[in-house]
C-alpha cells in the first residue's frame, strides 16, 4: 500500500476540512486513482446530516501516486481536527502572519511510525531570514478494511422534486442564525419557478423569508427518459422540515462554496451540492444529506 502526493492547493483542502470539521469528530477519506472522497456518515450526527463528497485529484494534488491491493484505493478514518491542524500549519503562508516561515512544498504520504499508520505531512519552507525548515505533522489514521469500505453506502434518495440555486451562504447564515434561538425545526420550501422560502413556525412566532428569482438549474439525469408524466406546475411548492442545527452545520461550508444547489425531496430529505471552485471546471462537490424531520414538534 503506497500513497504519496504533493498538495498544491492547501487553502482549498483546508477549507473543505474546515467545513466538515464541525460535523463529526472522525471522518473517512477514501483516496482513489482519480478522486478523493470525504465521508461523514455517522448515525449520531445532529439531525442525521451526512456528507459525501468527491474532489478531483488534480484540483488539489499533483504528483499523486497511489497503489493498493484494493483496486488502488485506500480508505482511512481520521480525526478531522488533527487533519485540520496539519493543514493549518501548511497553509499558514497563505492565511496570515501567524507563521514564521513560508511553506514551499507540502507532501502528504502514508507511513507507518512505530506500528501506527499515519498520514504524514511534510512541509518544507523558508524562514524569513532565509533558512530552510522542514516541519512534519503525523496524523494518526486507521486504514479501513475493504470489507468495511464496501459497507459504506450513500443514502438512497428519490428523484428530487425541485432543484434550486441557493443565495450566498453567508447571507443565508445570518438569517438562519437569527431563527435558531426561536425554533429547532426549519422548513425549507421551493418551487420550480425560482421561489425559495425558509420558515419557522412555533407557538410564539412564525417567520418566513422568501427569495424570488432564484435559478432552477436543469439537472441532467441518467434516467431522464422515464420522464413521461406531464411537467408539474412550476409554482407548486415542495417542502421539507429539517433540524435547524444540522442546517447550520451545512452552512459552515460557506467557507468553501461558490455555488450551492439545493434539492428537495418532499418530506424525505434535502440534498445540498456545494461546488468547490467554479461549477464549470467542477473541482469537486460536497454533498450534504439532511433527512427530513417528520413529526413537527416545533
Amino acid at each position: 500500500m503506497r500513497f504519496r502526493t504533493t498538495i498544491d492547493n492547501v487553502p482549498t483542502f483546508f477549507r473543505i476540512i474546515q467545513s466538515i470539521e464541525k460535523l463529526q469528530k472522525k471522518c473517512i477519506i477514501k483516496f482513489t486513482e482519480t478522486n478523493m472522497h470525504l465521508i461523514c456518515n455517522s448515525d449520531t450526527n445532529e439531525g442525521g446530516i451526512q456528507v459525501w463528497s468527491q474532489i478531483k485529484v488534480e484540483s488539489i494534488f499533483s504528483g499523486y501516486r497511489i497503489q493498493s491491493n484494493a483496486s488502488n484505493e485506500i480508505t482511512v478514518a481520521l480525526f478531522s481536527e488533527a487533519l485540520l491542524a496539519a493543514l493549518r500549519s501548511a497553509s499558514s503562508s497563505t492565511t496570515g502572519a501567524l507563521s514564521s516561515f513560508e511553506a514551499e512544498e507540502v507532501v502528504m504520504k502514508l507511513a507507518k511510525k512505530s506500528d501506527q499508520a499515519v498520514l504524514s505531512f511534510e512541509i518544507t519552507g523558508m524562514t524569513r531570514v532565509g533558512r530552510r525548515v522542514k516541519v512534519t505533522h503525523d496524523v494518526k489514521i486507521e486504514v479501513m478494511k475493504p470489507s468495511d469500505v464496501e459497507r459504506l453506502n450513500e443514502p438512497m434518495c428519490p428523484e428530487p422534486d425541485t432543484h434550486i440555486l441557493l443565495p450566498p451562504l453567508q447571507k443565508l447564515r445570518t438569517i438562519v442564525d437569527r431563527l435558531r434561538p426561536m425554533s429547532n425545526v426549519l422548513g425549507v420550501r421551493a418551487n420550480n419557478n425560482g421561489c425559495l422560502q425558509f420558515s419557522i413556525h412555533t407557538e410564539s412566532v412564525k417567520v418566513d423569508t422568501e427569495w424570488k428569482g432564484c435559478t432552477n438549474p436543469k439537472m441532467a439525469r441518467e434516467n431522464a427518459s422515464q420522464q413521461e408524466d406531464p411537467p408539474s406546475d412550476p409554482d407548486e411548492m415542495f417542502s421539507v422540515l429539517v433540524s435547524i442545527r444540522s442546517f447550520i452545520k451545512f452552512l459552515h461550508s460557506h467557507v468553501v462554496s461558490t455555488t450551492t444547489i439545493a434539492c428537495i425531496c418532499q418530506n424525505h430529505c434535502m440534498i445540498l451540492y456545494v461546488y468547490i471552485g467554479d461549477v464549470a471546471d467542477a473541482g469537486g462537490v460536497l454533498t450534504f444529506y439532511i433527512p427530513a424531520m417528520l413529526d413537527d414538534d416545533g
Binding site: M182, K206, T209
Partner: protein, 359 residues
C-alpha cells in the same frame, strides 16, 4: 376594519436600539397610542423598564382606536391598545438580515457574528465575483455592518391577532414576513414617582454614569447611591470655590458605593457643573439597590446621551435615559419629544430602615 397599528420605517436600527434597551425580560407589554409606542418590562416585581418610542421614530405611523368614540374625547386617560409580545423574538426578527445594528453589550452574539463575517471576507476575495465586494470588505474590516439597512412595515390588527412584520433590505433581496403571537396584556407593576416626594435629582451626561458603573465588578451584590446637600455657602459664590471647600468636607455630594463578597468600591462625583449638570438634594440620603437590577440598565445607558437620576423618600429610583435619534429628520424634529427609556427600581428593604436612622 382598520388595523389598530400600522407603522413603517426605512431603517430599523433606532427602533431596535430602543427595544434592546429594555430587553432584559422576554415578555414585554406594548401599549400603542396615538402618540407612539410604549414597551414595558418588569423583573422580580422590583424593576420596571419602559421604552417610550414616539410616533416620529417611524416614517409612517397610524393608530386606529379599537373602541370608537368611547374614550376618544377624554384627554387624561389616553385611548390605547395593549398587548404582550416576546420582546427577544421581536428583536431577533427585526435583525433577521443582521443589519439592525448591534450594541456593545450584546457581546456574545456580536462576537460570533463578526467572526464569521471575516471568514466570509476571505471567501469574497477568492471568488472575485462580487462587484461591490471591495466596498463591503472595507466596511467589515472596520467592524461596521454593510451599507444595507433593514426596512420594516409593522401592523397589528387588534386583540387576538399577531403582530405582523414585513422586512426587507432592498427590492432585489429576500423579504421576510414574521407573525409574532400576541398575548393579552397582564396588569404590570405600577411604580408611580411622586415629584413632591423627590429627595435627590441628578442630571448628568450618560458617559459619567456609564464609566462609573462599568468599573464595577459583576460580582457586586448591592449598589448604594448616597447624596448629600451641596456645601452651604453663598449661592452667588462661584462654584469653583465651593469645589475647593468640598474637597475638605468629608461628605461627597454624590457617591456610588458597590458592595460585594470581596469588598466594596466607592466612587465620588465632584461638585462640578460640567459633571453634575443638575444636583438637587435637600438632606443626606442613602438608598441601596440590587446590583443585578441596576446592571439591567447598562444597555440603555450605553446608547443614551443624558441621564436623569431621581430618588424619592421611599427610595424609589427613577433612571431616565435620553436616547438620541441617530439622524434627526429635517423639519420633523420639533414634532415630538425625543425617545427615552426609563427604569424604576425599588430600594432594598433593610436599607430603608438604616436610612430612617441615618437621616
Amino acid at each position: 376594519m382598520l388595523p389598530v397599528l400600522k407603522a413603517s420605517v426605512h431603517d430599523v436600527r433606532y427602533f431596535v436600539t430602543l427595544l434592546r434597551g429594555v430587553n432584559f425580560v422576554n415578555r414585554a407589554t406594548i401599549t400603542v397610542t396615538e402618540r407612539g409606542f410604549i414597551a414595558v418590562v418588569e423583573e422580580a416585581r422590583t424593576l420596571l423598564g419602559t421604552a417610550y418610542i414616539f410616533s416620529d421614530v417611524f416614517d409612517e405611523y397610524e393608530y386606529n382606536s379599537e373602541s370608537p368614540g368611547s374614550t376618544q374625547d377624554s384627554a387624561d386617560d389616553e385611548d390605547n391598545a395593549a398587548f404582550e409580545v416576546p420582546l427577544n423574538t421581536l428583536i431577533e426578527c427585526l435583525n433577521i438580515f443582521g443589519t439592525a445594528g448591534g450594541t456593545n453589550y450584546n457581546a456574545s452574539g456580536g462576537g460570533r457574528h463578526n467572526r464569521w463575517k471575516k471568514v466570509g471576507d476571505n471567501d469574497d476575495g477568492d471568488d472575485g465575483d462580487d462587484d461591490d465586494g471591495g466596498r463591503g470588505k472595507i466596511q467589515q474590516f472596520f467592524g461596521g455592518s454593510s451599507e444595507k439597512r433593514t426596512g420594516m412595515r409593522m401592523s397589528y390588527a387588534g386583540a387576538g391577532y399577531p403582530l405582523t412584520l414585513l422586512l426587507a433590505e432592498d427590492s432585489t433581496g429576500p423579504t421576510t414576513t414574521c407573525e409574532i403571537s400576541t398575548y393579552d396584556a397582564e396588569p404590570h407593576l405600577e411604580l408611580p414617582f411622586d415629584l413632591e416626594k423627590m429627595v435627590l435629582k441628578v442630571i448628568l451626561k450618560s458617559e459619567w454614569l456609564r464609566d462609573a458603573l462599568s468599573e464595577l465588578d459583576p460580582s457586586c451584590e448591592k449598589l448604594t447611591f448616597i447624596g448629600n446637600p451641596p456645601p452651604t455657602g453663598d449661592p452667588s459664590q462661584p462654584r469653583q470655590k465651593q469645589k475647593a471647600n468640598s474637597r475638605v468636607s468629608l461628605k461627597p455630594m454624590l457617591r456610588i458605593k458597590a458592595t460585594g463578597t470581596f469588598g466594596s468600591t466607592e466612587m465620588d462625583y465632584p461638585n462640578d457643573r460640567d459633571v453634575l449638570e443638575t444636583f438637587d438634594c435637600a438632606q443626606s440620603i442613602s438608598f441601596s439597590y440590587r446590583f443585578a437590577h441596576i446592571s439591567r440598565t447598562l444597555r440603555a445607558l450605553q446608547s443614551s446621551t443624558k441621564t436623569s437620576l431621581r430618588i424619592d423618600d421611599e427610595g424609589l429610583l427613577s433612571l431616565q435615559f435620553l436616547m438620541p435619534s441617530p439622524s434627526p429628520k429635517q423639519g420633523k424634529k420639533d414634532e415630538g419629544p425625543a425617545a427615552f427609556i426609563e427604569f424604576r427600581c425599588l430600594a432594598l428593604d433593610d436599607d430603608q430602615l438604616n436610612v430612617k436612622l441615618y437621616v
